[in-house]
C-alpha cells in the first residue's frame, strides 16, 4: 500500500476513535459550561439590544439581526451531533499532520513514543497558544478574530518548529534557536481585548472551563499520539 494511503487510513481510524471519545468527555465538561455561559451571553445581548432600542441606534440592531440570521444547529441532539462531526474532523486533521510528520521522519513509532508525539502536539496547539489566548467561554471580550487567528497559528507553528529543532536536530545551536523561536510569539504578545471590556460569564465558570478544556485536550492528544504511532505501523507492514 502506498504511504499516502497508509497515512490516510490510519488517520481516519484514529480520528473516528479520538473524535468520539473526546466528544463524550466534552459533553460531560466543556459543552455544559458553554451552555451555562450562553445564558449570561444572551442576557448581556438582550440588555445591549434594549439599550440600543431605547437610544434608537438602529445600526447596532441591524448588525444583530444580520448575525442572528445565519443557520445554527438547534440545542440538544442536533448541536451535539454537529459537535461530534467537528471533533472527528478535527481529530482526523490533526492525525494527518502528526502521522505525516512521523512518516517524514521515517522511524516507526511505538505507542509509548506516540504518547510523546502527542504531548508535543498538545504543547503546540494548546499549551503555547493558551499562554496568550486561553480557552474562552462565549461572551468573553476579545481582539478582532483575524488578529487572534494569525497569532494563534503563528504561535502553534513556531512552537512546532521549535520542538522539532530541539528534539530532532540535537545540536547546541538548534536548542538555542528553539528557545528563541518558542519565545518570539510571546514577546510579540497576543492581541489584547479592548480596554474596559469584561466577560459576561462569572470568573469561576471561566476558570472551570479552562481546566476542563485543557484536560480534555491532553486526553485528546495522548490518545491521538499513541494511536497514530501504532496504527501507522500496522498499515505500513
Amino acid at each position: 500500500m502506498s504511504l499516502f494511503r497508509s497515512i490516510v487510513f490510519a488517520s481516519v481510524l484514529v480520528g473516528l476513535i479520538v473524535g468520539v471519545a473526546v466528544s463524550a468527555a466534552q459533553f460531560l465538561g466543556t459543552s455544559q459550561l458553554i451552555l451555562k455561559a450562553e445564558v449570561y451571553e444572551k442576557a448581556g445581548e438582550a440588555a445591549e439590544q434594549q439599550a440600543a432600542a431605547s437610544s434608537e441606534d438602529h445600526s447596532v440592531m441591524a448588525a444583530h439581526d444580520l448575525r442572528a440570521e445565519a443557520w445554527e444547529p438547534a440545542d440538544g441532539l442536533e448541536r451535539r451531533a454537529y459537535t461530534v462531526v467537528a471533533n472527528v474532523l478535527t481529530a482526523i486533521g490533526y492525525a494527518l499532520v502528526l502521522t505525516g510528520i512521523i512518516a517524514i521522519r521515517g522511524k516507526p513509532v511505538t505507542w509509548r513514543e506516540g504518547l510523546i508525539w502527542g504531548l508535543a502536539g498538545f504543547a503546540c496547539v494548546m499549551l503555547a497558544p493558551m499562554l496568550g489566548l486561553p480557552p474562552e467561554l462565549p461572551g468573553a471580550p476579545s481582539a478582532p478574530l483575524a488578529d487572534r487567528q494569525i497569532w494563534w497559528m503563528g504561535t502553534a507553528f513556531a512552537t512546532a518548529v521549535s520542538i522539532g529543532l530541539a528534539v530532532l536536530v540535537r545540536k547546541p545551536w538548534a536548542v538555542v534557536a528553539a528557545v528563541v523561536l518558542a519565545a518570539i510569539p510571546h514577546l510579540i504578545g497576543a492581541p489584547a481585548a479592548p480596554d474596559g471590556a469584561h466577560a459576561l460569564a462569572p470568573e469561576a465558570l471561566e476558570r472551570q472551563f479552562i481546566e476542563n478544556a485543557v484536560m480534555t485536550s491532553l486526553v485528546f492528544w495522548l490518545l491521538l499520539g499513541s494511536l497514530s504511532g501504532t496504527l501507522l505501523r500496522r498499515f505500513e507492514t
Partner: protein, 62 residues
Amino acid sequence: MSASHSISTAKSGIDTSIAKLLQSALAVCFGLMIVGLVGFSHIDVLHNAAHDTRHANAFPCH
C-alpha cells in the same frame, strides 16, 4: 554487482524516499486544511456547526 546496477539501485532508493516525503507532506497539508476549515473558517454556518469544538480546542472564536 556491476557499478551501473548499484548506481541505479541508489537512484531508485532516492526516488522512493522523495516519493515518500512528498506523500507524507501531502498528508500534512490535507490535515492542516481540515483543521483550518473546522477551526478557523469565517463562514458563519461552519462556525456555528463547529462552535463547541472551537471553544473546547481554544481556537479563536467570535
